[in-house]
């Protein structure tokens, strides 16, 4: 049985929504049953941080996937994946604000946030990544895309430094075992290198060879 583009898009959309909601549902279930371990706040922060990075990387997979397969759905769903990444980052950040800074004492929390932003480099880069993604989430609508025209594309290239800072944020907070953060770093590196002009040119030649009928088709980027 073969899938047409529409069926593939529907299937992919359903899978991505499932993928996005499942970790959240699992965390809520654990929270409600007190199964977040001995240090539940850390558990939430780490789990939400992990999923933030996973969705951010997944959003960066979409364009290469579109180019390599010719499928249309990766570009159609790129925005959904990116917004989910942002949603997880916001939740991750919220847990830090509410419990680490202690929202019950807002004045002190604000002072502590200031101190953390200045003194803790991993927090500085994590916060900066969130700041970079904020305008992308706001301008993710069709309306903004139309209004900003070419500048939209330039603006949305902020996702690259945001992803780098996000991975750095993870690398810098680990005490010793760097294997997991470095795995994210390696995947990000592949995704970024793929976007380099020379990699694009080679990819273009390969695609042209394998698809003799393909029109000199520009692949939309990023």
């Amino acid at each position: 049985m073969s899938f047409g583009p529409v069926a593939r898009l529907r299937l992919a959309r359903a899978l991505i929504w499932l993928l996005a909601l499942l970790p959240l549902a699992m965390l809520v279930e654990r929270l409600l049953h007190g199964r977040l371990g001995a240090n539940p706040i850390e558990f939430l922060e780490h789990a939400l941080g992990d999923w933030s990075l996973r969705f951010l990387l997944l959003s960066l997979v979409m364009t290469p996937l579109r180019s390599l397969t010719g499928w249309i759905w990766p570009l159609k769903l790129r925005r959904t994946v990116g917004l989910w990444a942002f949603a997880y980052i916001c939740l991750h950040f919220s847990v830090y604000i509410v419990f680490d800074l202690n929202i019950l004492a807002p004045a002190q929390a604000l002072a502590k946030l200031g101190e953390d932003l200045v003194k803790r480099l991993y927090i500085t880069v994590g916060f900066t990544a969130w700041l970079f993604l904020l305008p992308l989430a706001i301008t993710s609508t069709d309306g903004w895309q139309r209004r900003l025209k070419r500048r939209w594309k330039m603006l949305h290239r902020l996702v690259y430094p945001a992803a780098i800072l996000g991975v750095l944020h993870y690398v810098w907070l680990v005490k010793k075992d760097l294997s997991e953060p470095l795995l994210y770093a390696a995947i990000l590196a592949v995704l970024l290198v793929w976007r380099l002009p020379w990699a694009q040119m080679r990819g273009g030649i390969l695609r042209a060879r394998s698809q003799p009928n393909a029109v000199h088709g520009e692949t939309p980027r990023p």
Binding site: P5, L32, G34, A38, I41, K119, K176, P220
Partner: protein, 331 residues
């Protein structure tokens, strides 16, 4: 975003994007956000209940379930300023013991391969009574006591634990250290059969720690063989570990197989790995931050919000050991 649809696609992208389900998605996302926030808020009150330190009777339930042998103690001393003891489960399910993995729950999950009996401890170096002691011969002459201590990890979390053991000073005296014994060094077991994870070599094994001899002789320095009325679970460093409650937890070397008296300050594992992050002394000090994170506050297991960290972890009686020393340099 300009999408020029390549001709190999039979359907124009506009036809796909205008699907009602696509339009609906944004509303759904907004609702999800609200629903999640609502859930999280309502869950907070439940979670608060669930996370409250369990009453004394329930806190130790896990100890009974462990089935570990019980220990008789001659006396019990509360030495954590009346702070609530953490639950047995928190103390035994959230550990740093890299020989069994770097995740906090790894030691509880993977330490069943450790065999705390038979066990022997080698005593060597600058002392008049060196030798190799079976673990039971080492413990038997000592009167066991229970002490409730705070324990503060360098990672800014903390617990309150009812340890069972005996003063380190009493043990050291048996080996008759000589005048050259300025430091005492401790080694953790490094056996790839009992500890398969050490092959990953995240740290240089065996794990090594050390104390200045006067620190080791301080009455607070405690040799631990049990907790919560029973012998130590493997993940907490069975069958013998060190506890120095005024220092960061990594000084509390676990599953000790060797004690050595030396004249010069020996290398210690974390200090060797990150000298600017982990000092030899490693005294709990809220005024000296870890280069990457604050040491001013900590999260007590069982509590939602952070609490202030106390100088020397609330054991000011050790301060005289460091009279005249700059604790910012000797962190």
């Amino acid at each position: 975003m300009l999408i020029r649809v390549a001709p190999e696609f039979p359907i124009a992208s506009s036809e796909i994007t205008s699907e009602p389900v696509f339009q609906d998605r944004r509303r759904f996302l907004a609702q999800m956000g609200l629903a999640t926030a609502g859930l999280a808020l309502s869950a907070c009150s439940d979670a608060k209940e669930a996370l409250k330190p369990a009453p004394a009777a329930a806190a130790g339930d896990g100890a009974e379930k462990s089935g570990l042998a019980t220990l008789e103690v001659s006396k019990k001393t509360e030495m954590a300023g009346g702070e609530k003891v953490c639950s047995y489960d928190d103390i035994t399910q959230y550990n740093n013991f890299y020989e069994f993995g770097t995740g906090k729950s790894d030691p509880a999950s993977y330490s069943s391969t450790l065999k705390p009996r038979p066990w022997s401890v080698t005593v060597e170096g600058e002392c008049d009574a060196p030798g190799v002691l079976g673990i039971d011969d080492l413990i038997k002459p000592q009167a066991l006591e229970e002490r409730i201590y705070r324990m503060r990890c360098v990672e800014a979390w903390s617990v309150v634990v009812p340890w069972i053991g005996f003063p380190l000073a009493d043990l050291i005296k048996r080996f008759k250290p000589n005048s050259k014994a300025k430091f005492v060094q401790f080694f953790t077991l490094a056996d790839p059969v009992q500890m398969p994870m050490i092959k990953r070599a995240v740290l240089p094994y065996p794990y090594r720690e050390a104390l200045r001899i006067d620190e080791a002789m301080h009455p607070l320095a405690f040799m631990v063989v049990g907790l919560y009325g029973r012998v130590l679970p493997n993940q907490n460093g069975a069958p013998l570990r060190l506890i120095t409650p005024w220092k960061y937890g990594f000084k509390g070397v676990k599953s000790i197989v060797k004690i050595r008296f030396v004249e010069t300050q020996p290398e210690t594992t974390w200090n060797q790995l990150g000298p600017d992050e982990y000092g030899f002394y490693a005294n709990v000090n809220p005024a000296v931050d870890h280069p990457r994170w604050s040491q001013a506050s900590e999260r007590r297991l069982g509590e939602l919000f952070r609490r202030a960290t106390l100088p020397f972890n609330g054991y000011p009686e050790v301060a005289s050991l460091y009279a005249g020393m700059d604790l910012r340099k000797n962190y």
